[in-house]
């Protein structure tokens, strides 16, 4: 059955065709047709991806070479695909989760006008196409093409509801921040071209070629690639676009800003792991940036009241964990976390979409509460998602997060400590979200209460499927201490990813797992007591306060929660808005200022023009004849 690898081009081609059909025919096709085309193309791609995956698992890797894109002199940049363990797994995630989200969207977006509905699906298909190009590309240029493509689609989809001005701004911001990263990526590509005159993965990562690169080259290239990754994967300092990107429709947030696009950075670094394994300094940087992002975003998430914002910051934080893993040389763990995160974060986003849908567009969790009775399926699946992200065994998040924490421990116990702390915060804010939303009393308006209903099957089925995946998804990477040969993923990637070797005794490993699990459960219980009967703070009567006033709680509050909350406030208000945003806006403003000043040179006067020309001529003559020797 070699032949499926011969037709891998169909996998990206189908979404492209879907995009064309829906894009061109959006006025003429009915909604059901649009849905059928949109979902169908992804479904077939998914089927093919499974097939491809099985082939790859059977040991067949494949390089498909189609034609030369660019051939100048020695340099040839072919349009080629590379199908191996890494890309085939990403194919599964993208098409699988992508299909579920398409399915979900058919229901979620059905109130849109026909034309917008078609536009939405065509963008979504285009996005899948670009993302597939990104992961299937056999060289950095094809990858870059997909890389730009996803950025563009993200821009289009965030601005989908363009009637609101702020959405517009969010879209621009996402695009510009992404561009900053892309810039670094592009420069890295050019650097590679100068040094090696090739960009194909197969050729770059050969020993002979790597030997041609000096340490400085490798450091610069890996750093530039990493800057590229920070843009796409929302790391410090280029992360602020992601929370703002929540302006788009919720399924988009689930697909792009949780499951797929934001993991592109992880994919790229994992793909270049051979390069990174030669660059210890950038690895450290990656680890620290990842950890800092994980912690920062987690503290900010504590204070958010918009359901999607919490999830957005949580995504940033989880991406930080993945980068931490990359920085520790645990590429498999990072990819593993990408996979499990795709499951549970897509689940959480879609769940939040279901909630928002039920609440008639309300996103503020302070106006929710007690939804568990009305939205049973949503509640249960959301709960599963929260457990998974919090990392309680045997849910999927436990295994991947544990692998990351373990790798951090091996690199440096301090890293482990901070990472564990961030993981605890994760459990806390996720369950805060869960309890405020689903338990207690309903705090919305009567109208909303009346309107509450479980979502239709097209929305709940993806939730259920994702919930199942979120439960069992971790079993592909069971640690060796539990079960010999349980780490299927690790074996799968044995050849491809140069993971740093583990050297830790089983006892330590058990201890670490126990510690993290125990603390997480403690955090959840704490969140339960604190938020099960959440009231708006202004509505809190003195009695309520007393009732909740446990001695431990108070101590905890004073010693830990309050400072953390302060930090959360600080980070979200000052750091996020002022420093990071200020930096980005500052560049923009500088540009505008420069533009305004520079255009004054264009005075409209012929005499001035000629004068400037003559002066430049004189200067060039002086340089040529008197200064250059």
């Amino acid at each position: 059955m070699q032949n499926v690898l011969q037709i891998v081009y169909l996998i990206p081609l189908l979404p492209l065709i879907g995009f064309l059909i829906n894009g061109l025919g959006r006025k003429h096709l009915s909604k059901s047709m649009i849905s059928a085309v949109g979902c169908g193309s992804i479904l077939i791609s998914f089927a093919l991806s499974i097939w491809v995956f099985l082939q790859v698992k059977g040991g067949n890797v494949h390089n498909a070479h189609y034609f030369d894109f660019i051939s100048v002199g020695k340099l040839k940049i072919p349009f080629e695909f590379k199908i191996d363990q890494l890309s085939s797994l990403f194919l599964l995630i993208i098409t699988g989760v992508g299909f579920l989200i398409h399915l979900y969207s058919t229901s979620y977006m059905k109130e849109e006008k026909n034309e917008h509905f078609g536009r939405y699906f065509s963008y979504l298909n285009l996005f899948i196409f670009s993302m597939l190009l990104l992961v299937m590309g056999g060289n950095f240029v094809v990858m870059f093409i997909g890389w730009e493509g996803v950025g563009l689609c993200s821009y289009l989809l965030i601005g989908f509801w363009f009637k609101k001005h702020e959405y517009n701004k969010a879209a621009s911001k996402a695009f510009i921040m992404n561009r900053i990263g892309d810039l670094a990526f592009l420069i890295a590509i050019f650097w590679l071209i100068t040094k090696l005159s090739t960009v194909s993965f197969d050729e770059v990562f050969t020993a002979a070629n790597l030997a041609k690169l000096s340490t400085l080259d490798i450091t610069v290239i890996t750093m530039l690639l990493f800057v590229g990754a920070t843009g796409k994967s929302a790391q410090i300092p280029l992360y602020t676009w992601l929370p703002d990107a929540m302006a788009g429709p919720t399924p988009v947030s689930a697909l792009i800003h949780a499951a797929t696009m934001v993991t592109a950075g992880i994919y790229m670094i994992a793909r270049s792991n051979i390069l990174y394994s030669l660059a210890p300094f950038p690895m450290d940087i990656i680890a620290y940036i990842g950890l800092a992002t994980a912690l920062l975003a987690a503290t900010i998430a504590l204070k958010q009241n918009d359901i999607k914002k919490v999830l957005a910051y949580s995504t940033v934080s989880q991406l930080g964990f993945m980068f931490l893993a990359l920085g520790c040389g645990a590429y498999t763990a990072a990819v593993f976390h990408v996979m499990t995160h795709a499951f549970f974060k897509a689940l959480l986003f879609l769940g939040s979409g279901s909630v928002i849908h039920a609440m008639g567009g309300e996103q503020d969790i302070r106006n929710m509460g007690g939804l568990s009775k009305k939205l049973k399926i949503t509640f249960i699946t959301f709960l599963i998602g929260c457990i998974a992200i919090a990392g309680i065994p045997p849910f999927s998040g436990f295994f991947s997060k544990d692998a990351i924490l373990l790798s951090a421990f091996i690199k440096n116990p301090v890293l482990y400590g901070v990472a564990l702390f961030a993981a605890l915060l994760t459990a806390f804010y996720m369950f805060r979200l869960l309890f405020i939303t689903f338990s207690g009393k309903f705090r919305g308006t009567h109208e909303q209460e009346h309107h509450l209903h479980e979502s239709p099957p097209a929305m709940t089925i993806p939730l259920i499927v994702l919930a199942i995946l979120a439960i069992i998804g971790g079993f592909v990477g069971i640690p060796e201490v539990f079960m010999t040969g349980g780490d299927k993923l690790g074996q799968f990637y044995l050849q491809l990813l140069l993971n740093t070797e583990h050297t830790v005794s089983p006892a330590t490993e058990y201890m670490l797992m126990g510690l993290s699990t125990g603390l997480v459960i403690a955090m959840i219980i704490f969140a339960w007591f604190k938020f099960r009967n959440y009231q708006r703070s202004e509505a809190t009567g003195f009695g309520k306060v007393l009732e909740n006033k446990w001695y431990v709680d108070e101590l905890y509050d004073a010693a830990i929660v309050k400072p953390i909350k302060k930090a959360g406030t600080f980070f979200s208000q000052v750091f996020d808005k002022k420093v990071i945003d200020g930096m980005v806006n500052g560049v923009g403003r500088l540009l505008q200022y420069g533009s305004r000043q520079l255009r004054l040179v264009q005075s409209g006067q012929v005499g001035n023009y000629i004068l400037l020309m003559v002066i430049s001529m004189v200067l060039i003559f002086v340089i040529q004849f008197f200064l250059r020797k």
């Binding site: 005075s603 409209g604 006067q605 012929v606 005499g607 000629i610 004068l611 003559v614």
Partner: protein
């Protein structure tokens, strides 16, 4: 005559033309200064033409026509200049019809 004299003479005329372009405001005069620049070039070309001719003669080729191309180039420059003048004056007249001035400082609707 030493060729340097001709080079300096025509550079001087050329730069006088440039100074004129830079210091005057009347479009017609600016245009005339440009014509002056072209004439400086013509003079230089003819001088060079004769210089190359001389060099070829000194090299012993008694029937040489070396340097002819330089003079023909001058001819072509005159052709182009004549065409340019007809168009240029037409444009200036059109401008004058509209704003009743040929002052280039009034050309400032288009800027920034």
């Amino acid at each position: 005559m030493p060729i340097n004299y001709y080079i300096f003479l025509s550079l001087a005329l050329f730069c006088i033309g440039i100074v004129g372009v830079l210091t005057r405001r009347n479009a017609i005069i600016i245009f005339m200064c440009i014509e002056l620049m072209l004439n400086a070039v013509n003079l230089l070309l003819v001088a060079f033409s004769k210089m190359h001719h001389n060099a070829a003669l000194l090299a012993g080729d008694a029937t040489t026509t070396a340097g002819t191309d330089g003079q023909l180039f001058v001819f072509f420059i005159m052709v182009v200049a004549a065409a340019e003048v007809s168009v240029g004056l037409a444009i200036i007249v059109m401008m004058y019809r509209n704003i009743h001035s040929v002052d280039v400082n009034f050309l400032n609707r288009l800027k920034h």
